[in-house]
């Protein structure tokens, strides 16, 4: 157990992966000489050399496709798409090649690919650099999607992702990079299940990614008001850990889903649907969503804050559910 930052946890995970798996290599923009956009891969070019820490030109479609091809060819590539904003340029390769390849070939080829990308807003980077597209990836059969919302997950998700014989997309959150906390020394994260981050009895606050700290903060606040909230970190966005989701909701009989993506069609919608399909008769009130406002994320701080989920909004939504303003 040691105290490290989320960034450091990502770094350790990456170093570990490259050290343990000789077929693994890191490929992406500025992962090498620059030291990684967020300094996650700093020093690794020197340690592992340019074949295993491969800087690429600005060619998201191309180098992601190359990662896919290399995976099919027997390597274990870790493709870093600098931010999810740029992943749109690579989406065709991810969907039409990586995700479909095994099924469409009748099971002849697997694609043991890991894509790491960073997601979310909150740093005043404005509309084009503040996207959250987790839900889009989580829509596609054939890939696994995980989101690291904790230091433990930042440290422990990459290795099992690398062991997965099929494509895994790992979401990382710059908004959390400087967060510090205890990290167990031997981390074996189960990338198949959600995790209860706080036990509670009256309402389930269900979230993932950068909204987790805000949600935990909201839970604290609620506790002070005498409302006992459970916090569930989804962690696996595809396939959703429906059992954990339903277990929590069946227990608390109320749910607020917190999601930094835009409300309409964000991941929260799917969570709502699962709750309704699986626990309708267990509910005391309709589940609610706290999502981003449906606007491009603005640069100005006060506007950005207003556009994103915040602890205050989560608290208010939970209060409404528990105290019951009716429908």
């Amino acid at each position: 157990m040691s105290r490290i930052s989320y960034r450091e946890a990502l770094r350790l995970a990456l170093r570990d992966a490259l050290a343990r798996e000789p077929r693994a290599f890191l490929i992406g923009e500025d992962v090498g000489k620059y030291g990684g956009t967020y300094a996650v891969s700093k020093g690794m070019l020197d340690e592992f050399g340019p074949e295993r820490v491969r800087d690429t030109p600005l060619s998201e479609l191309g180098f992601t496709g190359i990662g896919i091809g290399a995976a099919i060819g027997g390597m274990r590539p870790i493709v870093e798409i600098m931010t999810v904003n740029f992943s749109l340029l690579a989406l065709d390769q991810i969907v039409n090649t990586a995700a479909l390849y095994r099924h469409m070939s009748g099971g002849q080829f697997s694609v043991p690919l890991v894509i790491r990308t960073s997601s979310g807003a909150g740093r005043q980077l404005a509309a084009q650099h503040s996207h959250s597209f987790e839900a889009w990836f989580a829509h596609v059969p054939g890939i696994r999607v995980v989101a690291a919302a904790s230091i433990e997950d930042a440290r422990g998700m990459l290795w099992p992702a690398l062991l997965d014989p099929d494509p895994v997309i790992v979401f990382e959150y710059p908004a959390l990079f400087n967060m510090e906390g205890e990290c167990p020394d031997a981390v074996a994260v189960d990338i198949r299940s959600a995790k209860v981050r706080r036990e509670g009895a009256q309402v389930s606050l269900i979230t993932y990614g950068a909204s987790l700290p805000k949600t935990l903060e909201a839970a604290e606040q609620l506790a002070r008001e005498g409302i006992d909230a459970e916090v569930l970190d989804l962690r696996v966005l595809r396939p959703l850990d429906e059992a954990a989701l339903l277990a929590s909701v069946r227990k608390t009989r109320r749910a607020v889903v917190i999601d930094e993506s835009w409300r309409s069609g964000g991941l929260a919608a799917e969570v709502m649907a699962r709750i309704i399909e699986g626990a309708f008769y267990d509910l005391d009130a309709p589940p609610a969503r706290v999502c981003s406002e449906e606007v491009p994320v603005p640069y100005a701080k006060h506007l950005e804050d207003a556009a994103l989920p915040q602890a205050g909004k989560i608290v208010a939504a939970a209060e409404r559910l528990v105290r019951g303003a009716g429908a």
Partner: protein, 333 residues
């Protein structure tokens, strides 16, 4: 103004010389039968035939080694067949039977075969280009010297960003990719000069610092020579190579194409350069082929087609319960 038909003696020993002819005939007969079966409703979805372009796959694939990888497009029956996939597996795939190479999930556009290193069949134009570069990168990293990845694509793909990115990355990293551009002058109904500001595709490729070769894609000898040269260069480990095969498709783009965009006269003129009849005429002229031998090869091809159809007909449907099979790799595989 199209060039005169390919002519002159074929510089090969009989086995290769007649092998190339047989390859082209096998493809032609397969394609013709596929068209017929499409009409009969046995084959569905999109079907893109290679009639007229046989010399390209025949000449190029004979220049590859067994350890090489092949990446192709949706117009890939020829590549699959000549790479060694049994015709029955192709036909069964087009029937949608589980005896098909892709268990009937892919159909005509998605022929895959791990055993002959055929990495598909891709219905996204340009989609195979980064994949090919990635396979080549894996070979480089795993130090599999002497393996080349041949990537076939139409000239239409050259306008896609995927072409640009893949060429640059392959050239920059000196990956062993043989880029085989099947320039049949049209992308669906769009003629090359309406899709490229620079219609000499070798000029475009050369701008990446890649060696670029132009070859008459209607002449199986020219194709084979160019492909052998290109493959050797790539295998020598230096950098990728680009070959433009100038060819022409005699039939519509797909079974839905009314062919409004080109004259019958143009097609007729190109047919005078047809790769099979010009080649067999050359072989005959130099005394390497008799009419009898030709008919023998022809009959063998027809026999193979008949057996492939019988195989497909006898095939079975994948149970609906298996729908999600192969979505993920089973544990321990």
């Amino acid at each position: 103004m199209i060039a005169p038909p390919p002519s002159g003696p074929v510089p090969y020993a009989e086995e290769l010389a007649l092998g190339l002819l047989a390859d082209m005939l096998r493809v032609r007969r397969l394609e013709e039968k596929s068209a017929e079966l499409y009409g009969a409703g046995k084959i569905r979805g999109f079907l893109h035939l290679y009639v007229g372009e046989e010399a390209v796959a025949a000449g190029a694939i004979r220049a590859l080694e067994p350890q090489d990888n092949v990446v192709a497009t949706y117009r890939e029956h020829a590549h699959a067949l000549l790479r060694g996939m049994p015709m029955g597996a192709i036909m069964a795939e087009m029937y949608g039977k589980q005896e098909g190479c892709s268990r009937g999930r892919g159909g005509s556009m998605h022929l895959f075969d791990a055993s002959t290193r055929l990495y598909g069949g891709n219905a996204i134009v340009g989609g195979g280009l980064p994949l090919a570069a990635g396979l080549a990168l894996a070979d480089r990293l795993r130090q599999r010297a002497g393996r080349v990845t041949a990537c076939f694509f139409g000239e239409g793909a050259v306008a896609e960003g995927a072409f640009h990115e893949s060429m640059n990355l392959a050239a920059l990293w000196r990956l062993p990719v043989l880029f085989c551009c099947e320039n049949n002058l049209y992308a669906m109904g769009t003629a090359l000069e309406r899709s490229e500001s620079q219609t000499d595709l070798c000029v475009k490729a050369a701008a990446f610092g890649v060696h670029a070769i132009k070859a008459d894609g209607m002449d199986v000898v020219a194709v084979h020579e160019a492909a052998a040269r290109g493959r050797a260069q790539v295998a020598a480990g230096d950098r990728p190579c680009f070959i433009e095969f100038l060819t022409y498709r005699f039939r519509a783009h797909s079974m839905f194409d009314p062919e409004l965009y080109r004259d019958k006269a143009e097609v007729a003129q190109w047919k005078t350069r047809g790769p099979i009849h010009t080649y067999s005429a050359r072989l005959k002229a130099q005394g390497m082929l008799t009419e009898e031998r030709f008919l023998e090869i022809e009959r063998a091809a027809q026999e193979e087609v008949a057996q492939a159809v019988a195989f497909a007909e006898a095939g079975t449907w994948e149970p609906v319960a298996d729908l999600a099979r192969d979505l993920h790799t089973p544990e321990g595989q």
